[in-house]
C-alpha cells in the first residue's frame, strides 16, 4: 500500500445520545442536525486528513451508543487503531459510561490511543461535569477535550490529535 493510501480505523464509543453521530457528521460533512436519530449497529464513514508528512484516511466506525457495557459488540472494534470516547457534558452519568467503556476496550484490545471528548460545550448553562474531575483524568495521562458538534468547536482538533497519534 502506498503512503498516500494509509488508512486507519477509528471507533466512536460512548453512551447513547452523547453526540457521536453528530460529531462524525460535523467532521466529515461539516453539518449538524438538531434531530436525534439513534444509531443501530455501526455506521462507517471515511475522511481523509492531511498531516504534515502524509495523507491519512480515517475510517470512522460510529458504534451504537450502549449504556449496557456488556452488550458492546467487540467485533466492531477489531482492527481499530484508536478510538474516541464521547461523553455528554450535561449528563454526568455518560462520563461514567465512558470510563467503563475504556476499561472494557483496554481489556479486550490492549492499550490504544484515544481521546475523551466532552461534547455539547455550547450548552454552558446545563454543563454538569466539574473541572476537578477532568483534571484528575488528565493527571492520569488522559487526553481530554471539550467539543460541540453544533458549533464545530474542538471537533477538528480532536480528530487531528488522534490521527497524528495513530499514524505515527
Amino acid at each position: 500500500m502506498s503512503a498516500a493510501a494509509l488508512q486507519k480505523k477509528i471507533c466512536m464509543l460512548g453512551g447513547f445520545s452523547v453526540g457521536k453521530t453528530s460529531l462524525v457528521k460535523r467532521y466529515v460533512q461539516s453539518i449538524f442536525s438538531e434531530n436525534y436519530l439513534t444509531t443501530v449497529g455501526v455506521k462507517v464513514d471515511k475522511k481523509s486528513i492531511e498531516l504534515s508528512d502524509r495523507l491519512v484516511s480515517l475510517i470512522l466506525w460510529d458504534l451504537a451508543g450502549e449504556d449496557d457495557i456488556a452488550s458492546l459488540r467487540m467485533s466492531y472494534l477489531r482492527g481499530a487503531a484508536g478510538y474516541i470516547l464521547v461523553a455528554d457534558g450535561t449528563r454526568p452519568s455518560t462520563l461514567e459510561v465512558a470510563l467503563s467503556l475504556r476499561q472494557r476496550v483496554e481489556a479486550d484490545c490492549g492499550p490504544l490511543p484515544f481521546v475523551l471528548l466532552l461534547n455539547k460545550i455550547d450548552l454552558t448553562h446545563q454543563w454538569s461535569i466539574g473541572d476537578a474531575e477532568l483534571k484528575q483524568l488528565q493527571d492520569n495521562g488522559w487526553r481530554v477535550r471539550r467539543s460541540s458538534a453544533r458549533t464545530g468547536e474542538g471537533v477538528e482538533d480532536a480528530f487531528r490529535d488522534l490521527a497524528i497519534r495513530v499514524a505515527g
Binding site: M1, A5, Q7, K8, K9, F16, S17, Y36, L37, T38, T39, V40, G41, V42, K43, V44, K46, S57, I59, G65, R73, S75, Y76, R78, G79, A80, A81, R91, S93
Partner: protein, 401 residues
Amino acid sequence: MEALPASVTERLRVLTHGERAVAYLQIDADLSLVAAGGRLDNYGLTTLRLGEPALEQAFFLEGLLPLVENPYFVPSVELAGGRAANLHFYLETDTLWVVLLDVTAERDATRRVQQKAYEMTLLQEKEALLNRQLEAANAALRATQRELQASQEALVRTHQRLQCELTEAALYVRSLLPAPMSHPFVAEWYFVPSTELGGDAFGYHWIDPDHFAIYLLDVCGHGVGPSLFSVAVLHLLQAASLRDVDFRHPAQVLSALNDTYQMQSNSDLYFTLWYGVYQPATRRLDFACAGHPAAVLVDLRSGDVELLKPKGLPIGLMPDVTYACETIRVPPGRYLHLLSDGAFEVQRADGSALSFSEFLKLMTHTPQEGQIELRQLYEQLVALRGTATLEDDFSIMRFAF
C-alpha cells in the same frame, strides 16, 4: 443439518437473493480484489477495480483483514447510501469471501423501538435532573429561611435591647425634669414625648433666694440625637455653667447659648427656647425668647390672655444674634404657661388644623387647678386628633404666681 428438499433450497436461494440484496467480494491472499458480484450497487460498491487493493475500494474492510477468525461476522454495518448490511467473512483455501446481506429493514425496525426507549430514558434523566435541582433549590430555600429566621430573632433581640435602653434613657430624661412645687407658688407640668425620646426639655430652679429661673426648650427633630442635645442644654441651664453669664439676665443667657451651640458644629441641630426669671418679692418677670412659642399669661377670673414673646431667632441658626429682654409685673391671680409647639400644633381627625386661639380657649376653659387639669388638656387634644398620641412632643408648664 437435515437436508432440505431441492425445491425448498431453491426457494430459499431465490428469497435470500431477492430480499437480502446479496453481494460478494472475493479477495486473494495479497488482499487484492479478484472478483465481485451480486447487488453491489445496493451498497454503493459500483466502481470496483479487479486486481487492485480491496481495502482502498471497500474501506469498511479496514482493520478486518487479514481474517484472524474464520468464519467471521459483523452485523448491521451501515454503508454508503444508508443501506445496512450483515458482513459474513469466510476463507476457502487462499481466497477470502465477503458476503453482504441487506438488513436495512430490520435495522430500521430496531431503530424505531430503540429510539422510543432512548427518548424515554432521556426524559426520565431530565426529570430526575429537574427533581435534583428542585430539591437543591428547596434545600437552599430552607437554609435561607433558617438564616432569615435567625436574623429576625437577632433583630428582635437587638430591638428589645434598644427599646430597653431607650426606655431607660427616657426615664433618665424624665428624672431631670423638676418636681412640682407648691411654695411659695405653684409650679406644675405635663410632658408626653411623641416617641420614647423627644427633643423637648424644661425646668425651673432658684438662681438665688430672690430669682427663680424658668425655661422650656425644643430641639428640632425627635429621637436619640435631639434628646441628648436637649439634656446637655438642660444640664447647662441647671448648672448655670456658661462663663461670664449672669443667669438672672435672660438676653445674656440666650446670646451665650447661641454662641456656644451653632448648628454647624452640632450635627445641624438647633433649638427654640423661652427663658424667664421671676422675682417673687417684686412680682417682676424678665424674659427672652429664641424662636419659641409665646408664653401665655392667663387671668383665670376674667379669662384674659397675654402673650409673652419677645422677638429672637432660634439658638444655633446664625452667630452674633442679639436677643431682646422684656419685663412685666405679674398681677396676683395670673397663671403663666410655657409650652412647646407640639402642645398646640394639632391636626384634627378631619384634617383641619387647630388654631392657636382655639387652643387658648381650650386652655382657659379648664379652670380647675392641679396637674390633672394639664393632663385633661392633653387628653382633649388627643381626642381631637383621633389617635393614641400627638404627633409632636407635648410639654407644658404652669406657674400660679
